[in-house]
């Protein structure tokens, strides 16, 4: 049995942060019911990438990736009947996750005070850009502006250029993870203490407290008045950063200088280990040291592919790796041997590889039970079955655009 089997999640989120949160829950066994707008559904269905770059709401790679193991029901929550359906579903749920702008759900009578009256044990998690309070509550934001305000781009990239954002939509992914962690804490409390509660997650705060240099930087600045700056490759004598191999780039982290003997072994010059000056720690911070090591390292690396350099470096206990493209990742021998990607067939998108476990449990953990749902695929099953609506009632809801 999967660890979260029996945990019932009502999912009123879309795009990345919320769906990544509920994917983490669904992949480990929770029953996730995804509520989508009747017209078009989750905007991630329009985001792509699409096979052959031809848009199709059931073939968006982003949507397919983020919505494995979920069920889809379409509900227009702007209608009275739609709101009643949500209230009915809240009675049958342990967890509700939503990512509306903070003003929306109170206007619809679906905020935490209202829903907790229906189900006092409910754990409700609201994911928003700036949180449910404060002067920026209603400000507009995207992954890009949220990341900028948290400070990561200011210390990422090249000081000669402008700040640089992270890959893709990583702050939204990070927000989704943080929401999942908070929800699991609240779910344990729900189980052990019988208490429900509201979680208020701010993507801005996730961005500001990001463990990649931000938490440390915010305290470090108070310690030293140094601002975290953009750093390309470090100017250390031994390689620290990204360097050109014959077919692309490789990443080498050889600092601290204590690793220099491994470096000499790696480049095939064990004879140099006899050199007296290398034994003086002072040598390694001189410009001559850098020049000398560069002359040894660059030709060695340019004679090898990034993958060859990786495997040879690792044989000598050097922390190195290739700079991979997504296509390289898909064919990586290590991930293949671990069976990480799992192929599954989808009625509209066909056979595709899906990412596997975010982590592995000794007993049953991750499972790819189903691919992403077609829009409204579970309307009859959930509204007819779970809520017991008659076929006539369903027909009325359909005719009025409610589902």
């Amino acid at each position: 049995m999967q660890p979260l089997a029996g945990l019932r999640v009502l999912d009123l989120t879309w795009h990345i942060a919320g769906p990544y949160c509920t994917k983490l829950l669904a992949d480990y066994g929770a029953s996730v019911l995804k509520i989508e707008r009747p017209a078009g559904g989750d905007p991630a269905r329009a985001a792509g990438p699409f096979p052959g770059d031809i848009p199709h709401p059931e073939r968006s790679g982003l949507f397919l990736h983020l919505n494995t193991n979920k069920q889809s029901v379409t509900v227009n929550i702007k209608t009275d009947a739609g709101q009643e359906i949500i209230r009915q579903l809240v009675r049958e749920s342990d967890i509700l996750v939503e990512s509306f702008a903070p003003r929306v759900l109170p206007c619809l009578g679906l905020d935490y005070p209202a829903l907790s009256k229906i189900n006092p044990r409910l754990v409700m998690c609201s994911i928003s850009n700036f949180g449910q309070s404060g002067p920026y509550r209603d400000w507009k934001a995207t992954n890009f502006t949220i990341e900028a305000m948290g400070g990561l781009p200011s210390c990422t990239g090249d000081p000669e250029f402008e700040p640089l954002k992270q890959a893709d939509h990583l702050m939204e992914y990070l927000g989704g993870q943080a929401a999942a962690a908070a929800i699991m804490g609240a779910a344990l409390h729900q189980r052990w203490a019988g208490v429900g509660q509201h979680i208020d997650l701010s993507l801005y705060e996730v961005s500001a407290a990001c463990a990649d240099r931000r938490m440390t930087g915010l305290l470090g600045y108070q310690y030293t008045r140094q601002i975290a700056d953009r750093v390309p490759n470090l100017p250390t004598a031994l390689p620290y950063g990204y360097f050109a191999a014959s077919d692309g780039f490789a990443c080498f982290i050889v600092a601290p200088p204590a690793r220099w003997t491994r470096f000499m072994d790696m480049i095939g010059r064990p004879d140099l280990k006899a050199g007296q000056r290398f034994h003086d720690p002072g040598f390694w911070s001189t410009p001559e040291a850098k020049e000398e090591m560069d002359l040894l390292f660059y030709p060695w690396l340019s004679d090898r592919t990034k993958q060859q350099a990786f495997e040879e470096g690792q044989k000598h206990r050097i922390a190195c790796c290739p700079v991979n493209t997504a296509a390289d990742v898909l064919t990586d021998p290590h991930l293949s041997a671990r069976g990480f990607f799992q192929h599954a067939d989808h009625p509209e998108a066909g056979l595709l590889p899906y990412t596997g476990p975010s982590f592995r449990l000794e007993r049953e953990g991750f499972a790819l039970r189903s691919t992403a749902p077609l829009l409204g695929r579970h309307n009859s099953q959930v509204l007819g079955g779970t809520l017991g609506l008659s076929p006539q009632e369903l027909a009325v809801l359909r005719a009025t655009g409610c589902i």
Binding site: T145, D158, D200, R213, G217, L361
Partner: protein
């Protein structure tokens, strides 16, 4: 103590650098008792500082991260003064023990018998060398949840390979998706996003195992392969590679759909504002905000696709407007007009931000070795069980008395013996490794 979700859970913390300490911190926020297992005989680089006892001169010469000692002065307890450790040290206790001796191992066995969770992110096999691998300790406590966080996992051709966060970004394709278009990879800068991602989901992983233990009564092993976890965060590019047999590189700060999007220069050295405009309504708002109403109906910029095609021309106009403005004022001005915009904040901007102040994001705490500072807080608020910030980062060995006396029931004579044997202490020893 308040009744928090994990108040009855005790975690033994064998973690280092960022990813592991962050995971454990998130469990402590939710109430778990965290006992950091440290040793006065072994200093781990970039955990409690760069080296155990750096000179003031070395601190000056270290790179940015290495140099983050309070007042740039290591003083006589540098291991208690470094921002990498201290920023993630809240709610943790610290004990010392020399796990390389059988005496130390047996002390840890006793602790494992009374703990719920063990978390470690050491080099693969390190703890097993000292009889502290999962197979060694599971019999002591069948309810124990033991999580290892190897970058490459415990099986597969790379299982014995070494790596840090910087490597993780590179090998997963995250680095490939970051960078300035037309520039080589090194300009993308050294980053450690994997460290940010791993800890958060790792705390979630422990809690799923606790949830399962509630049903089965059994503990288990959790393999948190940081590489695999990070790949789940670039699902779009992975699907593109699978569907279309290609690997598109970084679009830099631009967005495939939203335009204009980018950093625009502001008044002062290296000050910038991020602007991200999508639908036509936001475009109209931007034109008004930058006092260029005619631009809204300029045929070059009539829809998001045209704005994307003519991005450079648009950047020139926006930069001319932003260049004379203070970044924070520009952000507030654009937001008043309904334009998604945010300053490219640096540390002081975040520390002074009104939104974070209103939400009491920072926690002012006194720390014995450094003084009073504002520590960055939590990712979320909870109405019934607010995440805690009870205690500042622990000094090395600060909680030895609690662990040895209160938890393990050692008497004065036994404690004196353990001090003599180099287990109990509050300073790194002279002949440490």
């Amino acid at each position: 103590m308040a009744n928090l979700p994990l108040s009855r859970i005790r975690v033994l913390d064998f973690t280092l650098i960022w990813a592991g300490p962050h995971a454990v911190m998130m469990l402590g926020d939710l109430g778990a008792e965290i006992i950091r297992v440290e040793s006065t005989n072994h200093h781990i680089t970039n955990t409690r500082g760069f080296v155990a006892k750096p000179t003031k001169d070395l601190v000056k010469r270290l790179g940015y991260l290495g140099s983050l000692y309070a007042d740039l002065d290591p003083k006589d307890q540098p291991w208690n003064r470094h921002a990498m450790f201290n920023s993630m040290g809240r709610n943790k206790k610290s004990m010392t023990v020399d796990m390389t001796t059988t005496e130390g191992r047996d002390i840890l066995y006793d602790l494992i018998r009374i703990s719920d969770v063990l978390v470690e992110n050491n080099a693969v096999g390190m703890l097993a060398r000292f009889g502290l691998g999962y197979e060694d300790v599971r019999r002591l406590n069948p309810a124990l949840i033991y999580m290892s966080m190897p970058i490459f996992g415990l099986a597969g051709p790379y299982k014995d390979y070494l790596g840090f966060g910087v490597n993780g970004d590179a090998i997963t394709g995250v680095l490939w998706q970051r960078g300035y278009p037309g520039q080589d990879i090194p300009s993308a800068g050294v980053g450690n996003y994997m460290d940010a991602a791993s800890g958060v989901t790792a705390s979630y992983a422990v809690m799923t195992a606790l949830f399962e233990r509630d049903r089965t009564g059994k503990g288990q092993f959790v393999e948190f392969c940081q590489l695999e976890h990070l790949v789940t965060q670039i699902g779009g590019p992975i699907m593109d590679a699978a569907m279309n047999k290609r690997a598109l590189g970084s679009t830099g700060n631009r967005d495939p759909i939203r335009a204009p999007q980018g950093f625009y220069p502001c008044q002062g050295h290296d000050r910038w504002i991020a602007i991200s405009v999508g639908p036509d309504a936001e475009w109209a708002a931007l034109c008004l905000a930058i006092a260029q109403p005619a631009l809204e109906h300029d045929p070059r910029f009539a829809d998001p696709f045209l704005r994307h095609a003519n991005h450079d021309a648009l950047d020139t106009v926006i930069s001319a407007w932003s260049r004379t403005l203070d970044a924070r004022r520009a952000m507030e001005h654009l937001q008043r007009h309904g334009v998604p915009a945010g300053m490219a904040a640096q540390d002081p901007d975040v520390l002074e931000d009104p939104q974070l102040a209103a939400r009491e994001f920072f926690h002012q705490k006194h720390h014995a070795a450094t003084g009073t500072y504002r520590f960055p807080g939590h990712f979320y608020k909870m109405s019934a069980t607010p995440p805690r910030f009870d205690t500042p980062p622990p000094l090395l060995g600060e909680h030895n008395a609690y662990v040895y006396r209160d938890l393990l029931g050692k008497d004065d004579a036994a404690i004196r013996h353990l001090v003599e044997r180099g287990h109990i202490g509050t300073a790194y020893t002279e002949n440490m490794k």
